[in-house]
C-alpha cells in the first residue's frame, strides 16, 4: 500500500472552503488526505500555524485563498501571498523541504480545481515520503 500523507488545509471560508463544498456536490474524486480547517481569511493564517502543523507531524500544509481582487476583506490574500513567499524561503534556508508547503488560489466556483490540487499535492507528498519529524526522508 502506498503511503497516505496527512495534509492540513487552511481554507478561506469565502472561497476555498466553498470550493471544497462544491467539489463534494460535483461528486469530484480526490484522496481523503486533507483535513480542512476553516478560517475567516487566508490572511488570518499566521506563519506560526504552518510551522506548528509541520512540527506536529503533518506531511504537507495547504493554504487556500481567494484569487487576487476577490478577497472579502479587500487585501487579506495579498498579505498571505507576501507572507508565504518569505516563509517558504525561510523554511528552505533552515533546511526543511519547502515542497511540503503549498499556497493555492481556489474560488468558490472551482470545486474541480480543489479536487485537482489535493490530488496533485498528495501525489507530490507520496514521492517525498513522510515528514522527517516522523522519521521520514
Amino acid at each position: 500500500m502506498s503511503f497516505s500523507p496527512n495534509i492540513v488545509g487552511f481554507a478561506c471560508q469565502w472561497c476555498t472552503y466553498a470550493g471544497a463544498d462544491l467539489a463534494g456536490n460535483l461528486r469530484c474524486k480526490y484522496p481523503p488526505t486533507i483535513k480542512l480547517i476553516r478560517v475567516p481569511c487566508s490572511g488570518s493564517v499566521e506563519p506560526e500555524y504552518v510551522l506548528e502543523s509541520l512540527a506536529r507531524g503533518a506531511d504537507g500544509v495547504l493554504i487556500g485563498g481567494c484569487h487576487f481582487g476577490d478577497c472579502h476583506y479587500k487585501e487579506g490574500n495579498y498579505k498571505t501571498s507576501r507572507r508565504m513567499t518569505i516563509l517558504k524561503k525561510m523554511i528552505e534556508d533552515a533546511g526543511f523541504d519547502p515542497r511540503r508547503f503549498r499556497l493555492e488560489w481556489i474560488s468558490g466556483a472551482e470545486g474541480k480545481r480543489f479536487a485537482e490540487v489535493v490530488e496533485e499535492f498528495t501525489r507530490e507528498l507520496q514521492e517525498l515520503g513522510p515528514n522527517p519529524v516522523k522519521g521520514g526522508a
Partner: protein
C-alpha cells in the same frame, strides 16, 4: 534588615556581555549589594570553583542568573548543578532564553563550524590543521579532557526548568536595575514569565509614526544598513530599512534605533508570540507593498532563516522540531 539574598551568576556558553551589562549599572550596584550576597559568580568575576558550587547544599542560592547558551558538555553540567543549588533560576539575556547568535550554528554541520573557526579564517594560523578533541594527550604525558561540542545549541529551558526569562543582547543596564529592585522587593510575576515591561520597541521608540500623527504606509523599497544612511528621525521601517521593533520587547529603550540602527530582535518576542521568526515574517510581509517588494527583500537578505531568527533560533519551532540534526 532581613537576610541578604544569596545571589549566583553563571556564564554558560556566552560572551560575558551580560555580566558586563550587570556591572554597567555602576554605583547602583553598590547599593544593590546591601541586599545581595554574591555566593557564586564564575568563571568571570568571583574566585570560586565549580567544585565549590557542587559542594553547596541543594537550594542554597536564592537567586541565580545564567547567561549564555548551552554549547558544550561543560555548560550542560554546570547549568544542571546550578539548577539544583538554586531556588530561583533566571535565563538572563538572549542566549540563555532564546539561543542567541550561536544558535545560528545549528544551520551548519560541526565540520563546517570547526573548519571556519580553526582553519579557514584568514587570521588563523593552524598549519597542522588541528581541531579541538574531547580527549588529547599533550606532549606525550598530559592526558587532557576538554568539554565536548554538543550536537546542537540549547537554551537553558531546554535543559532544566527556568523560572524567569530576560531578553536582550545584553539586557539594558537601566532595565537590569529595575529587575534588581523588583527582586529585592520581592515583586516578581508568576514563575515561567518573561521579566519585561511587556511593551514593544516601537512603543518606546520616538520615531514611531503614531507619535507624530503620521500614517503608516506600505513599504515599496527595501534597504540594508550598508545601502545608505537613514533619516535620523523617521521610522526606519517606513524608510525601507527592515526593523523588528514591532515584535520585540522594548526594555532596551530602543537603544539601536537611537543610533540609527534597525532592531534585530535581541530583546525577545513580545508577549503572545510563540515563534519569533515566524512572527517576524508575518510582520515584515504585512508592512511591504507587494510581492515584488517581498522578492526584493529575499534577494537583499540572502538567508531568511538567519535574518528572522537572528537571536532566537534555538527557541523556534523550525529549529526544535522540524530540522533536528538534519545537518549534523
Amino acid at each position: 534588615m532581613a537576610d541578604k539574598i544569596k545571589f549566583g551568576f553563571l556564564l554558560a556558553g556566552g560572551c560575558a556581555g551580560c555580566e558586563t551589562a550587570l556591572v554597567d549599572i555602576s554605583e547602583r550596584l553598590v547599593d544593590a549589594l546591601d541586599h545581595l550576597e554574591v555566593v557564586f559568580w564564575a568563571p568571570t568575576v568571583a574566585d570560586v570553583k565549580y567544585k565549590d558550587l557542587e559542594a553547596m547544599e541543594d537550594g542554597f542560592i536564592d537567586l541565580a542568573f545564567v547567561d549564555g547558551m548551552v554549547r558544550n558538555t561543560e555548560n550542560e553540567h554546570t547549568v544542571k548543578v546550578l539548577r539544583q543549588k538554586s531556588k530561583t533560576l533566571v535565563a538572563f539575556g538572549a542566549c540563555a532564553s532564546l539561543g542567541g547568535i550561536a544558535a545560528l550554528g545549528d544551520m551548519h554541520s560541526k565540520e563546517e563550524l570547526f573548519n571556519q573557526a580553526y582553519k579557514d579564517t584568514f587570521s588563523t594560523d593552524n598549519p597542522e590543521g588541528l581541531l579541538p578533541e574531547p580527549q588529547c594527550l599533550w606532549e606525550g604525558k598530559y592526558d587532557l579532557t576538554l568539554p565536548a561540542f554538543t550536537k546542537r545549541v540549547s537554551t537553558i529551558d531546554q535543559l532544566v526548568d527556568v523560572d524567569y526569562y530576560v531578553g536582550g543582547c545584553p539586557p539594558h543596564h537601566d532595565f537590569i536595575f529595575q529587575l534588581i529592585q523588583a527582586v529585592v522587593s520581592g515583586n516578581l510575576p508568576p514563575k515561567g514569565s518573561w521579566l519585561t515591561s511587556g511593551k514593544a520597541v516601537c512603543d518606546i521608540c520616538k520615531r514611531n509614526p503614531a507619535e507624530h500623527d503620521q500614517q503608516r504606509l506600505p513599504i515599496g523599497e527595501v534597504f540594508r544598513t550598508v545601502d545608505g544612511r537613514p533619516d535620523e528621525d523617521k521610522c526606519l521601517l517606513q524608510q525601507g530599512y527592515i526593523c523588528f521593533g514591532p515584535v520585540t520587547q522594548g526594555d532596551c529603550g530602543a537603544s539601536c534605533l537611537n543610533v540609527n540602527i534597525p532592531c534585530r530582535g535581541c530583546g525577545g518576542p513580545i508577549p503572545g508570540v510563540k515563534d519569533y521568526g515566524a512572527r517576524c515574517v508575518s510582520m515584515v510581509a504585512s508592512s511591504l507593498k507587494d510581492d515584488q517588494t517581498a522578492e526584493k527583500l529575499i534577494s537583499k537578505f540572502n538567508d531568511m532563516a538567519k535574518f528572522c531568527y537572528r537571536y532566537s533560533y534555538s527557541s523556534g519551532i523550525l529549529n526544535q522540531k522540524l530540522t533536528p540534526g538534519n545537518k549534523v
